[in-house]
Symmetry: C2
Subunit: 129 residues, 2 copies
């Protein structure tokens, strides 16, 4: 599914800019930390966030990832949310803290934040560079 | 419209990740060079690109801009296309080449490419960091 020449971006520490659909079908976007399990893009979310509500309403999603070493090289992944899993022990967000911060635990967890893992199935890509 | 604390991002050489709506209302996203005229976000586009067709169909748009010096600081701008202007002399794309490449002329222009300037009116922002 992902062109071989761009797979390195999936294990890089680049951010993914996630586009979702707001309540009126309008685009919304912001950067996230992400993981790649070999077949899906995964990212963490709290259930209070607009993006979580958007994806529960309409699971269509697009992510754009720029090579940190080359701003003219990027991969866009379009797809759909396959599943949203709970993350009650913060296993996934701590894994992301390890990847992006080199820290064992995610330092910004707030008591009361309910964390989930959004699991995205890629269906189409565009790329450049 | 834009929170003062984030206005520096509008004159930075960060990329803007632009989210538009595809033919079936699905989100699409990719990075662009952008300019800020004090009231609008502007970016270049060729008329052959999917993003151009998307914006002609539905002008709703969102852009996310991360601080190049601090990946935990970002600004999202949601808005709508106010106008799409022709760029027959490549004035605008050359200005972007100056901003991003330090070159007087955009080096990737292809004969036959029809360039336009997409002018976006911000209507709402979200931010972090």
């Amino acid at each position: 599914m992902i062109p071989e020449l761009y797979r390195d971006l999936l294990t890089s520490t680049a951010l993914a800019h996630v586009a979702t659909l707001g309540p009126n079908g309008e685009p919304q976007t912001n950067p996230v930390w992400f993981d790649w399990d070999g077949a899906h893009i995964l990212f963490s979310q709290t259930t209070k966030r607009q993006k979580y509500r958007n994806l529960q309403r309409d699971g269509r999603i697009a992510l754009s990832i720029v090579d940190p070493a080359n701003p003219y090289r990027y991969l866009e992944i379009r797809g759909a949310v396959e599943r949203i899993d709970p993350d009650p022990d913060l296993t996934f967000i701590n894994k992301m803290a390890q990847k992006y911060l080199g820290q064992e635990r995610y330092p910004y967890h707030q008591p009361g934040d309910e964390r989930v893992v959004v699991i995205v199935k890629p269906m189409h890509t565009t790329q450049m560079g």
